[in-house]
């Protein structure tokens, strides 16, 4: 093992995988927990290098073993942003009050001017906490589309205005956009 260390070049101090595995194999007792790093808290004194290499203790694992951090974070965020659960009621597929493409909905924003937007749901993009709903509205003769983040704190409420007259045969109603060729 010492021969391996001596062959390392003087510059570029880095404890490579090979070096660590060599250290591990050199220890007398085999370790049960593979996360333990041998010689952690020690300093390697290499004869060729001037500065010693510190081997640090591994950072403690804050989550229980086998848990999925991303899922936990998502659940935490959703419960924080939607404590009463009304957003989940409106946008989760399984919910009985779930909104669908084609429904007309009014969005109330948390702004000083009490901004509202009424529009037909063109698409519901379901991505957990990033879920957004695309609404289309004809303001005068001009179409306006707004994609609103469902769990945003700037959204005060979604008011259900009316159900689609006929159930849309599609989940995404992009055909509601005007035909550009016909316009010209």
């Amino acid at each position: 093992m010492s021969r391996l260390l001596l062959r390392q070049p003087a510059r570029g101090i880095s404890v490579t995988e090979n070096c660590l595995s060599a250290l591990r194999s050199a220890t007398v007792a085999t370790l049960k927990d593979s996360r333990q790093v041998p010689n952690a808290g020690y300093q390697l004194n290499r004869k060729l290098t001037k500065t010693p290499i510190k081997i640090h203790h591994p950072a403690p694992c804050l989550l229980p073993k086998g848990s999925e951090p991303k899922q936990l974070l998502e659940q935490k965020l959703i419960s924080e942003l939607d404590p009463t659960g009304w957003r989940r009621q409106l946008f989760q597929r399984s919910s009985p009050l779930a909104l669908r493409a084609g429904d007309v909905v009014k969005v109330l924003f948390n702004s000083e001017t009490n901004q509202t937007f009424v529009g037909t749901i063109m698409a519901i993009r379901r991505r957990g906490v990033d879920t957004s709903v695309r609404l289309r509205s004809e303001v005068g003769q001009l179409g306006v589309e707004m994609s609103v983040k469902v769990y945003s704190t700037s959204v005060k409420a979604f008011e259900f205005v009316s159900r689609a007259l006929k159930k849309a045969r599609r989940a995404k109603l992009y055909y509601l956009r005007p035909d550009e060729k016909k316009r010209k």
């Binding site: 957004s132 303001v139 700037s154």
Partner: protein, 130 residues
């Protein structure tokens, strides 16, 4: 995304109907204009006589005039700080003078809320702000 050769609808009563963008002001090279940006435009077509009568003789715009304008609507979607994405069905602008005041006296149509910063007069004149 407004840049050279982009055609925009004019939604005020300045007299112009359709303008062509020639330059986007205050931005880097080849950076497209967005809602709230100031642009230099060439008037390509003007509106009928009815609307022309409402604008003052000084402000009357002729075909071929080079004017400044502010973009009020874009077809290219843009995102707001709260994550809302907004998209209009056309590109539109309002003609302004060098000081940033609108040339016309009325605005017909929707304008974007982003104009509140710097073009409060246009927002005040607009019938609907999204």
């Amino acid at each position: 995304m407004i840049y050279l050769k982009s055609m925009l609808n004019v939604i005020d009563n300045s007299g112009a109907a359709l303008v062509e963008c020639v330059n986007v002001l205050g931005k880097g090279n080849k950076t497209a204009g967005r809602v709230g940006d100031r642009i230099v435009v060439v008037v390509q077509s003007i509106r009928g006589a009815k609307l022309l009568a409402q604008a003052s003789a000084q402000n009357r715009v002729q075909r071929g005039d080079i004017r400044h304008a502010v973009i009020v609507r874009t077809k290219k979607e843009y995102q707001r700080p709260d994550g809302t994405v907004v998209r209009f069905d056309d590109n539109a602008c309002v003609l302004i003078n060098k000081q940033g005041e609108p040339v016309g006296t009325r605005i017909m149509g929707v304008v974007a809320r982003e104009l509140q910063q710097g073009y409060a007069k246009i927002v005040a004149l607009a019938p609907k702000v999204v």
